[in-house]
């Protein structure tokens, strides 16, 4: 019996954002931009989608004199990521890892 995959996390940029946030407490927009190699616009759209789903929280602030955006996983987001990862692993361990 396969565990269901999270449709929201099957997008590469969104999965990258969630994976990066798993390893840190908070990350700013520029860090995510650098690590995901996404365009500013695309990253912004994907962050908004994750925020709307309640997977991440976004706080606007200042770093020195410059505005900065900080992202962090919510409890719901962490649980969703773990469930998605477990589901991916179950497909892979079963040997049918190529299914989308």
């Amino acid at each position: 019996m396969f565990k269901p995959l999270d449709a929201l996390l099957q997008n590469q940029i969104r999965l990258q954002i969630m994976s990066l946030l798993m390893g840190v407490e908070t990350a700013d927009f520029n860090f995510l931009l650098e690590e995901t190699q996404a365009s500013r616009g695309n990253l912004s759209v994907q962050i908004t989608k994750l925020k709307e789903e309640g997977y991440i929280k976004v706080e606007k602030g200042y770093k020195g004199n410059y505005p900065s955006t900080h992202c962090a996983l919510t409890r719901k987001g962490r649980a969703a990521f773990v469930a998605h990862f477990e589901a991916l692993k179950s497909y892979w361990e079963d040997g049918s890892g190529t299914g989308a």
Partner: protein, 196 residues
């Protein structure tokens, strides 16, 4: 993206986070490792020289504040450039704050217990600090580095007190700092470039 590609993305992102940990962790071990090693070797050489033996301690008050300033500057620079915050950073700060207090306490005790025993305590404190850091960061190189010096201290304690004079203690400290700070730091830097 198929499932395999998704697993690859997750692995790649987690590796990138570890890459940053290697980078941030190893730089401080190199700064302090080289500073302590140079100070120890200089103290040993001065102690053995005829003209300068009275000033054998001179390297410490010069090199330690310099290492402290370089560390503070590097830490600030890395913090500003990193763009992320981890709970581990906070835990590490407290852990090394405690280690520093222990080292200062050991230095303060030197007048009572003598320099040999004081250096044993100092080695023990930084060895424990390194081993605990390794456990927190899940970097076994640091755990092994810390255990190396703890075993070295145990070996020294098994010897008779008159078998370990101050010069022998300086050699032990030089060996300890190489095994605990420098070797793990260089291994981590090599891994940093091979992992990503």
């Amino acid at each position: 993206m198929d499932n395999k590609q998704q697993l690859d993305v997750i692995e790649q992102m987690l590796t990138r986070t570890r890459y940053r940990m290697y980078e941030q962790g190893s730089i401080f071990y190199l700064i302090w490792g080289w500073s302590v090693l140079i100070a120890t070797v200089l103290e040993y050489l001065l102690l053995r020289s005829n003209e300068w033996s009275a000033f054998h301690w001179m390297a410490w008050p010069v090199l330690m504040p310099v290492a402290g300033l370089i560390s503070a500057y590097t830490s600030r620079k890395l913090h500003n450039a990193s763009g992320y915050k981890t709970l581990i950073d906070e835990v590490m700060r407290y852990s090394w704050g405690g280690t520093l207090l222990g080292i200062l306490f050991s230095l303060g005790l030197s007048a009572r217990i003598g320099w040999v025993d004081s250096y044993i305590l100092i080695i023990l404190f930084y060895a424990l600090g390194t081993a605990v850091s390794g456990l927190i960061l899940q970097l076994r190189e640091l755990v092994f580095g810390g255990v190396f010096s703890i075993l070295l201290v145990l070996g020294i304690l098994l010897l008779q007190k008159d078998q370990v004079d101050f010069e022998a203690m300086l050699i032990a400290m030089a060996v300890s700092i190489v095994g605990t700070y420098l070797v793990p730091a260089y291994i981590l830097r090599m891994k940093k470039t091979s992992d990503v």
